[in-house]
């Protein structure tokens, strides 16, 4: 098959040597040292970029853990740490709408990611040998969906026709597989040395066993990246929720976040400004932080695997 150009200059296979951050490369001898102005310009630009990302996150997290007095004193968002208070988190996580939404989001994300990974890994492995039975038609079946999507209305009619409106399955099944992710996995599986797979078969291993005991252990990095992609997709899903879920008690966290922060709905407990209660801004910020916490937790572990090999394979093929 010759659908997607797989002529990536960087091999997608597992043979790629790991990066060695400890060896510090010198500036090549032919490369002139940049001038002072250029150097300063670079530093300023990069500092602005990094600040633009981290600054807002810093003040939001800080405000969410600030006491009411500190927030009042700052006049809104807190930039300088003052009195620390976790009242906002206690308040939104002690039952109620936000707690329910967190549980819904966690449940949908966990279930959805598990299903997506199983289906995608199986499919990618099943398609990893060009020339196998029905390989090309199946591949085309997948690829066509990348070029033409049916649209919102038929998708909605289908989901409602299947009776999935107001079920959590509506948040999982329609977005269950990403052809893009399958293609990344497939590219990686195709890069695995044939000799290893052949010797497994000669030793009597079935395809299932080869996949679970040989291929998957060799593909930890790429499966971690794909699992992150799927997990983030489910966690962040917003449109599917407003499209398919009308029952507000089933809303995932993103929808709740929208109603509290963007639509001005009061966070429960916000009106109760007695002593010890968290301030309104702190509650809003706490909901925002809850929406990003899972990503902040998982991201550092997976981030190092966003290596060029995986990604260029993804984009090129």
């Amino acid at each position: 098959m010759s659908t997607l150009t797989n002529k990536a200059p960087v091999a997608t296979g597992p043979a790629r040597p790991p990066r060695q951050p400890r060896i510090k490369p010198e500036r090549p001898i032919w490369d002139e040292e940049p001038g002072a102005v250029a150097k300063a310009g670079k530093i300023v630009v990069l500092a602005v970029v990094v600040l633009a990302v981290l600054g807002p996150l810093y003040t939001i997290v800080l405000t969410s853990i600030s006491s009411q007095a500190t927030i009042t004193q700052a006049g809104g968002l807190v930039l300088v740490p003052g009195e620390i208070s976790f009242a906002a988190y206690q308040q939104i996580l002690s039952g109620g709408v936000v707690t329910k939404a967190v549980l819904v989001s966690v449940g949908v994300t966990a279930t959805g990611t598990a299903i997506s990974m199983v289906v995608s890994i199986l499919c990618a492995y099943g398609l990893s040998r060009p020339g196998s039975f029905a390989h090309t038609p199946i591949l085309f079946t997948l690829l066509i969906t990348m070029f033409f999507s049916a649209g919102i209305i038929p998708a909605y009619l289908l989901v409602s026709g299947l009776g999935l409106i107001n079920t959590y399955w509506a948040l999982i099944l329609p977005s269950c597989i990403s052809v893009f992710n399958i293609i990344i996995l497939r590219g990686f599986f195709m890069g695995i040395d044939r000799g290893i797979l052949d010797s497994a078969r000669i030793d009597g291993a079935s395809e299932w066993r080869t996949l679970t005991q040989i291929v998957l252990p060799m593909s930890k990095a790429v499966t971690a990246v794909i699992a992150l992609f799927y997990g983030v997709g489910y966690w962040n899903a917003f449109f599917n929720a407003i499209l398919y879920i009308n029952d507000s008690s089933m809303n995932p966290l993103q929808v709740v976040l929208r109603s509290y922060v963007l639509q001005g709905v009061s966070v429960p407990g916000q009106v109760d400004v007695g002593t010890g209660a968290a301030a309104g801004p702190a509650l809003q910020m706490a909901v925002i932080v809850l929406a990003m916490i899972p990503i902040l937790i998982v991201y550092p572990f997976v981030q190092k695997h966003f290596t060029k090999g995986v990604m260029i394979g993804a984009v090129k093929g």
């Binding site: 010759s2 659908t3 150009t5 797989n6 960087v10 990066r19 951050p21 490369p25 032919w30 630009v45 970029v49 996150l57 003040t59 939001i60 006049g75 968002l77 199986l122 099943g126 398609l127 040998r129 060009p130 029905a134 090309t136 038609p137 085309f140 079946t141 997948l142 066509i144 969906t145 033409f148 049916a150 649209g151 919102i152 209305i153 038929p154 009619l157 099944l173 329609p174 597989i177 195709m190 395809e207 992150l228 983030v232 962040n236 449109f239 407003i242 993103q254 976040l257 929208r258 922060v261 963007l262 925002i288 929406a291 550092p300 981030q303 966003f306 060029k308 260029i312 984009v315 093929g317």
Partner: protein, 356 residues
Amino acid sequence: MSTGTERTAAPRQEVATPHSGTLAGRTTTDRGAGAGGAAGKGPAAGTTAPTLRPKANLKVRFNRDRSLVFMALPAVILLAVFAYLPMLGNVVAFQDYSPYIGIPDSPWVGMENFTRVLADPDFWLAVKNTLVITAFQLVFFFPIPIALAMLLNSLVNPRLRAAIQAVVYLPHFFSWVLVVSVFQQIFGGAGLLNQSLRANGWQAVDVMTNPDTFLFLLTSQAVWKDAGWGIIVFLAALSAIDPAQYEAAAVDGANRWKRMWHVTLPGLRSVIVLLLILRLGDSLTVGFEQMILQRDAVGAEASEVLDTFVYYTGVQNGDWSYAAAAGLIKGLVSLALILTANKVAHIFGESGVYSK
């Protein structure tokens, strides 16, 4: 899906199945014979990989590869239900569909919905907004990752580079709700910006609800979220450039800027073209969730794009057939756009999204 045509087909001529009509015609030049063509003449599987499995008759091949086919099956079933079935569902665009009657019994109205859509000024407003946003972002978003990647690539210290990469990739993984919320907290009426403006006795500015500046707002949100992630591809392409080229250029007297112009940018060319094609093919799809989230704040006039037009006329107002017609127009035009863009890339000698 299309095993029926394979009874007589030679190995790997399955490409010419009805399903893959559009693609097959474009992607297989040397084996367009279709089912029943002479067996065994097809070259090895295109450019992607050599033929790894010897040819045998279908029954033998099926028995041999049975488990592989079964493995791919769940994904195929999911796609059949959630991607292909809705494609058929587009027939409602030719009906006066009512959910109470259902597709089989709804009256057929031919092209009426399409003529109505094409005569609707609201539809053309959505088209205009969509194209303006796409064009604006092409100019003010697209070059940023390229510049950032070149800047990062010029850093000699790999640790610093990795740390900055880790930071700038992060917002890509935040949801649009989160991104818009963050912007609201910083630039909104009660946000950090206005808070400090007021504290210093200045007039507060209204960024989040001003339709006139909405285009800039949208683009800055997109830049904040995705420009960092965009550099990953360019960094990969940059690392694939042979350092000897730089050295040769330097020896020949090319300074930093000349090397950038004559070595770096040509090295990025095919990736830039590829991403441009993808972007052009997607030009009718812009910031759907961004629009829904900010529609209340800036109004429909500024934020109506094709996807929101379809969503609000269909799902919200219940004009299903009308919205489906608009959606189908969008899908078909997008398909045409990506095929055209790819064709143009081929003409300019680039490989494009898929090769011939």
